[in-house]
Symmetry: C2
């Protein structure tokens, strides 16, 4: 089945890592496209996204791109502008090109920069985005922790600024923190001080084979260290009024 168009670009979310959490749409686009661009962080020895889609690779051209792990906006943009140029060039040759990213391209993804570069180089109608399951969804499902119901508010944010995190505790029913790996100790003490540690769960590497850790109750268990940590804090329910 032909599902891609020559000259078009596809930004695909491939989900958290488990090969079967890919959507049927992403799988079909991957199987049908000419070129797959797979990002790999300079800290990783392989592309997590590429591993997740391995079953769908036959004779497409696969380009691994090692991107810098930096919190510096300028060099990140420069790198991804280069990839956008390469991707747009392949599209101009009539190829269909898919870029794969772990999670969802719209949530904390390097696809943000790639898309900005592509839209300066290609007609908007030839750029397609496919959503993917984000780590917080995979983690909540594995923990069997319902996130929201009725009138609940859910805040999703990185755990880097713990003052902002403390403010958010008062403004939602469910708080989901990404990138919490490096602040777990400090965060635990702040939650303990507020009596909220028993309301918090921690998931590391949700749905990544052999690496996943599930801590249902942070008061009772201590998570191992790890970069890709998601913390889910249940603050209450705002029922129908």
């Amino acid at each position: 089945m032909t599902v891609t168009t020559p000259g078009h670009a596809y930004l695909l979310g491939v989900g958290p890592g488990a090969p079967d959490l890919l959507t049927l749409r992403a799988a079909r686009i991957l199987e049908d496209c000419d070129v797959i661009i797979a990002p790999r962080s300079e800290r990783a020895d392989h592309s997590l996204a590429l591993k997740a889609v391995q079953a769908h690779i036959h004779d497409q051209q696969v380009l691994e791109q090692v991107y810098p792990m930096t919190r510096e906006d300028e060099s990140t943009r420069t790198f991804w502008t280069g990839i956008a140029g390469e991707m747009a060039g392949l599209c101009k040759q009539g190829k269909s090109v898919a870029q794969i990213t772990i999670g969802d391209p719209m949530l904390y993804s390097t696809s943000y920069y790639l898309f900005a570069g592509l839209r300066e180089r290609m007609p908007l109608d030839s750029i397609h985005i496919t959503p993917g399951i984000s780590a917080f969804q995979a983690g909540a499902a594995r923990l069997r922790t319902m996130l929201t119901i009725q009138e609940d508010r859910m805040m999703l944010m990185p755990a880097t600024d713990l003052t902002a995190v403390e403010r958010a505790l008062d403004e939602c029913e469910t708080l989901v923190l990404y990138k919490a790996g490096q602040v777990l100790d400090d965060l635990r003490e702040r939650l303990r001080a507020r009596g909220l540690l028993g309301n918090a769960s921690v998931v590391l590497y949700a749905e990544q084979e052999g690496r996943e850790s599930l801590i249902e109750n942070w008061e009772e268990q201590t998570p191992p260290s790890g970069y890709m940590a998601t913390v889910i804090i249940r603050l209450g329910r705002k029922e129908w009024s």
Copy 2:
């Protein structure tokens, strides 16, 4: 391939409505299970979730369940407790039973009530949850609107309490409002008063064939009316500091 276990229950998110936004996992569980429980709102003439998975139905038993559209907690719980009893009974007979729900079971889903009923009737280890693409993800991808990057905070909430919505505008970089269909006029005036109407997009029935409406810029276009409206408001970017 056998992917389900006799006597186990599966709560499956099937995504926003497009049949190809199902995950491979949900598709395989559906194809393999004995019974599929499909909820249908009393307002709808068919089950959206069942329509989304039609391609995976062969000779499984399909039970449509008409649930009440009420904002009354007690009757909602009573209804879903009944379904949980039925589902647990089928599991006790050794059947594998899947319940399908539009979107993600962890986000504003009736699966919340079903899960509460099941966990009183079955071992927790025999209840499995599969995440699904939620409408805000599908809508953002169709609009090509990036939701978060770097240090951004995203708030997801229903649009029912507009005072709470106005407060949230000051506490995040991206605000996503669900169930906005009935308050679109009031919300538009409040956003206009704050000069934010041009930062807002509206998606109705994202990825539902023949019903989808995409309003990229609410200042320039007026959305049609519809119950399943999602509003995405971009309030700024909180870049790396």
